[in-house]
C-alpha cells in the first residue's frame, strides 16, 4: 500500500506539513480560519508532528504498520486494520480515550486530542483528491507518498 515516507535528509523543519494537515482536516478548509479559530475552539490539531534534534528534523505521522501495536492495544475497537486498503483506521465514535494506543505506538505517531478524550491520527487524507495534504505542501519533497 502507499504510505507517507518522511526523508530526514531533506526535511527542512518548516512545519508547513502540519499547517497543510490542519487545513485538510478543518471544517473551513481555510488555513487562516483553521489556525486562528478552529484550532482554539475545536481543538483542531495536526495529525503529524515535526521532531527536531540538532540539525536533524523529520515529520512523523502514523505509518499504517502491517502489524500495528496500536490496534493490538486498543480496548474498544476504535482502531482497526482495513483489510482492503491496508490502512490503520480510527473510529472516533468507538474511542473511549484510554490512550493505550499512545503508549503502544513505537513511533510516537498518535497524539492526544487537545480538548477531548480522543486521539489524533493520520488518515492519509482519505478522500482527498490530490492525496495526503502534507505531501503536496512539502516544499522540499521530503515527504513521499508511494509504495515501497
Amino acid at each position: 500500500m502507499k504510505r507517507v515516507y518522511p526523508d530526514k535528509e531533506y526535511c527542512i523543519g518548516c512545519h508547513l506539513c502540519e499547517l497543510a494537515c490542519i487545513t485538510a482536516h478543518s471544517k473551513s478548509k481555510d488555513l487562516i480560519i483553521a489556525y486562528r479559530e478552529e484550532r482554539g475552539r475545536d481543538g483542531l490539531s495536526p495529525c503529524k508532528k515535526v521532531f527536531e534534534k540538532g540539525d536533524t528534523c523529520v515529520a512523523i505521522s502514523c505509518r499504517h504498520c502491517d502489524e500495528p501495536s496500536c490496534v493490538a492495544a486498543c480496548i474498544s475497537g476504535g482502531l482497526y486494520k482495513d483489510p482492503e486498503t491496508g490502512r490503520t483506521v480510527y473510529d472516533r465514535d468507538k474511542c473511549v480515550g484510554c490512550w493505550s494506543c499512545l503508549m503502544a505506538c513505537p513511533y510516537g505517531a498518535i497524539r492526544r486530542h487537545p480538548i477531548e478524550a480522543k486521539i489524533v491520527k493520520c488518515d492519509l487524507c482519505e478522500g482527498r483528491e490530490n492525496g495526503p495534504a502534507c505531501v503536496e505542501a512539502c516544499p522540499n519533497q521530503a515527504l513521499k507518498y508511494e509504495e515501497r
Binding site: 508547513l16 499547517l19 488555513l31 540539525d55 522540499n140
Partner: protein
C-alpha cells in the same frame, strides 16, 4: 535608536507583514537564517527586525498565507547624482569596521549590457526558415582544437579512412555548460544536482577549484575538472576523472584576485575533497605561483596533458581584461584547446566590492575581440572559445555564439534556477536558500532531486529556444551560427562599439 550604531536605521529592506493574513505560524522565523523574524514572547506573536533583513525573499516564498512582502526601504537620502545612497552606506559601514567591503554575486553596477543592444536576424522570402519541430536541428558542439585540414586515405576496397589524428574533444549536446562553482562555495547537494543535470542533458558542469567528491566520479563524462591557484583537491585520479581540465587563471567577477573560503565553510566533506584541514581557511593565491609567463602556462598545460595521457582537452579560463585578445592568443599558442573568457558581470561567492564593480570589461566586447584576434592570426581552429559572465537567457547564448563563442557557461542563471534571488550575501555562509552554504541545516534546503530536475529543465528550455531562433534564421545547425556576425545588428551603439563587436548597425 537605542543601543545601536546611529547608522543602523539606514537599512536596505523592509518586511511588510499583512496582519489580516499572518497567523503567527512561525514558518518565517524558522526559515530566516539572519534572525530577522522572531517569536516575541511578551507580545505572543511573530515580530521582525527590518535592520536584519538581507532581501533574500525566503520568508516571502514559504509564507503559507502570503502575508509577507519584502520591499526596498522607502526612505531615500536626498537625491544626488554623485553621492548615490550606496556610496554613503559603504562609507558608514567602513567607518564602523575599517574593513574591505565584501560582495557576493555579479556586479550590480550600471555598465552597458551589449546583449540588449544587439538584435538577431530572421529569414524572409529569399531563404526559407526552418521549423525545428519538424526538421532536424543540430545543437551538438565539440570543444577542443580542430585540425587545419583533413587528410583522407582510401584503403584497398576503396573505403575512405581519416588519416588526420584528431585531438581530444569535449562533446556537448547543447552548447550551455554549468559554470565553475566549487564544492565549498556551494554545497554538495548542488554539485550533485549539476552533475546529474549535465549528464541528463548531455552537457558538462565545471567542478570549480574545490576538487571533486569521490561519489561524483561516475558523472565524469560530463565533468570538467578545474585546477586553480590553490590546487585544492588536485591529484592524478581527479585529473583523470573528468572529460576536460580547466586551468583557472582568472575570474570575471574578480580579475587579479584570488579566493578565500573561510574556515567556517570547511566541513568534513569539503575538507576531504579539498585536502585541507577542517575549519582552516582555504586561500587561493591571486596568481598561480608557477605561472609568470606564457611559457610557464605552456608548461602547466603540457604537464596536465601528460598527466591525463592526452585524452582530454585542456581549457584555460581568463578574466575579460583590457588586453584580453592578446592574452587569449598567447594562451592558445601555449597549447590550450579551449579558451574560456569570463566577463566582468560574472558571479562570485565573495569578492571585494571595489574589484567586482570596477575591474574588467563586459564579455560581449571581450568575446568579439578574442574571436577576431584568433581568426586574424589564423589560429582560431586551434582552440574553442567559451564565453561566461552574465548570460541571462537563450537569446544571450545565441548572440554569444554569433559573436564567436563555441559554447557558454552559466553560473548565476544556474543558481537562480534553484532559488537564488541575488541577495548577494554568499560570503556569509548563511544562504537562506541553502545554496552558498555548507551549514548542514541550511544545505538541506536544496534537495538534489528537485535541483537536478530544475537545472535539466532550464537547459532543455533554452535548447528549444535556441533551436527556434536558429530555425528562424534559416540555419539548421549551431555550427552555421558560430562567428556568423552577419546575423547580428547593433542598436543605439557608437561606431567604436560596433567596430569592436564587429557588427553593423541595425538598418545596414
Amino acid at each position: 535608536m537605542l543601543f545601536q550604531p546611529i547608522n543602523k536605521n539606514y537599512h536596505e529592506f523592509c518586511i511588510e507583514r499583512d496582519k489580516d493574513l499572518c497567523i503567527n505560524c512561525k514558518v518565517c522565523v524558522r526559515q530566516c537564517s539572519y534572525d530577522a523574524h522572531f517569536w516575541d514572547e511578551s507580545r505572543q506573536k511573530v515580530m521582525h527586525d527590518n535592520t536584519k533583513c538581507i532581501g533574500c525573499h525566503r520568508c516571502e516564498a514559504l509564507c503559507p498565507t502570503a502575508a509577507l512582502s519584502i520591499r526596498n526601504k522607502p526612505s531615500d537620502f536626498r537625491p544626488h547624482k554623485l553621492w548615490r545612497p550606496v556610496f554613503l552606506q559603504n562609507i558608514y559601514k567602513q567607518a564602523d569596521t575599517g574593513g574591505v567591503l565584501l560582495a557576493g554575486m555579479g556586479s550590480p553596477v550600471d555598465i552597458p549590457v551589449y546583449w540588449d543592444s544587439m538584435l538577431l536576424d530572421a529569414s524572409q522570402v529569399t531563404n526559407p526558415s526552418i521549423d525545428p519541430l519538424r526538421e532536424p536541428m543540430e545543437l551538438k558542439t565539440f570543444l577542443g582544437a580542430k585540425p587545419k585540414r583533413l587528410s583522407i586515405v582510401t584503403d584497398k576496397n576503396g573505403k575512405p579512412k581519416l588519416k588526420t589524428k584528431l585531438t581530444p574533444q569535449l562533446e556537448l549536446d547543447v552548447p550551455i555548460m554549468f559554470a565553475a562553482m566549487s564544492l565549498g562555495a556551494i554545497n554538495f547537494n548542488l554539485h550533485q544536482a549539476m552533475a546529474r543535470a549535465a549528464t541528463e542533458t548531455g552537457t558538462a558542469y565545471n567542478t570549480g577549484e574545490g576538487g571533486l567528491h569521490k561519489s561524483l566520479y561516475k558523472y565524469g563524462k560530463n565533468t570538467i575538472v578545474q585546477v586553480a591557484s590553490g590546487r585544492f583537491g588536485v591529484h592524478l585520479d581527479y585529473l583523470k576523472a573528468g572529460s576536460a581540465i580547466e586551468i583557472k587563471v582568472g575570474q570575471g567577477a574578480k580579475p587579479g584576485i584570488g579566493g578565500h573560503l573561510p574556515g567556517e565553510k570547511i566541513n568534513f566533506m569539503v575538507s576531504e575533497t579539498r585536502m585541507v584541514p577542517i575549519g582552516s581557511d582555504a586561500i587561493s593565491p591571486a596568481p598561480h605561483h608557477d605561472i609568470y609567463s606564457i611559457e610557464d602556462l605552456l608548461q602547466l598545460i603540457y604537464a596536465l596533458k601528460e598527466a591525463s595521457e592526452y585524452k582530454v582537452p585542456i581549457s584555460v579560463k581568463i578574466a575579460a581584461v583590457h588586453n584580453v585578445a592578446a592574452i587569449a592568443s598567447g594562451v592558445v599558442r601555449a597549447g590550450a584547446d579551449i579558451v574560456t573568457v569570463d566577463g566582468m558581470r560574472g558571479g562570485t561567492g565573495a569578492a571585494p566590492a571595489m574589484i567586482r564593480d570596477n575591474v574588467g570589461i563586459p564579455i560581449e566586447l571581450a568575446l568579439a575581440q578574442v574571436d577576431q584576434r584568433l581568426r586574424d592570426e589564423g589560429i582560431r581552429n586551434k582552440a574553442s572559445i567559451v564565453a561566461a559572465g552574465g548570460i541571462r537567457c537563450s537569446g544571450d547564448v545565441v548572440k554569444a555564439i554569433a559573436l564567436g563563442a563555441d559554447a557558454v557557461y552559466i553560473g548565476t542563471a544556474t543558481l537562480i534556477a534553484v532559488g537564488c534571488t541575488l541577495c548577494g550575501r554568499c560570503y556569509t555562509g548563511k544562504c537562506p536558500w541553502g545554496i552558498a552554504t555548507n551549514d548542514s541545516k541550511l544545505s538541506k534546503r536544496q534537495n538534489p532531486d528537485i535541483a537536478a530536475r530544475k537545472l535539466a529543465n532550464l537547459i532543455r528550455a533554452w535548447g528549444h529556444e535556441i533551436e527556434e531562433m536558429l530555425g528562424g534564421m534559416g540555419l539548421n545547425s549551431i555550427e552555421s551560427l558560430r562567428g556568423n556576425r552577419d546575423k547580428l545588428r547593433g542598436v543605439g551603439l557608437s561606431d567604436t562599439e560596433l567596430d569592436i563587436l564587429g557588427i553593423k548597425h541595425a538598418g545596414r
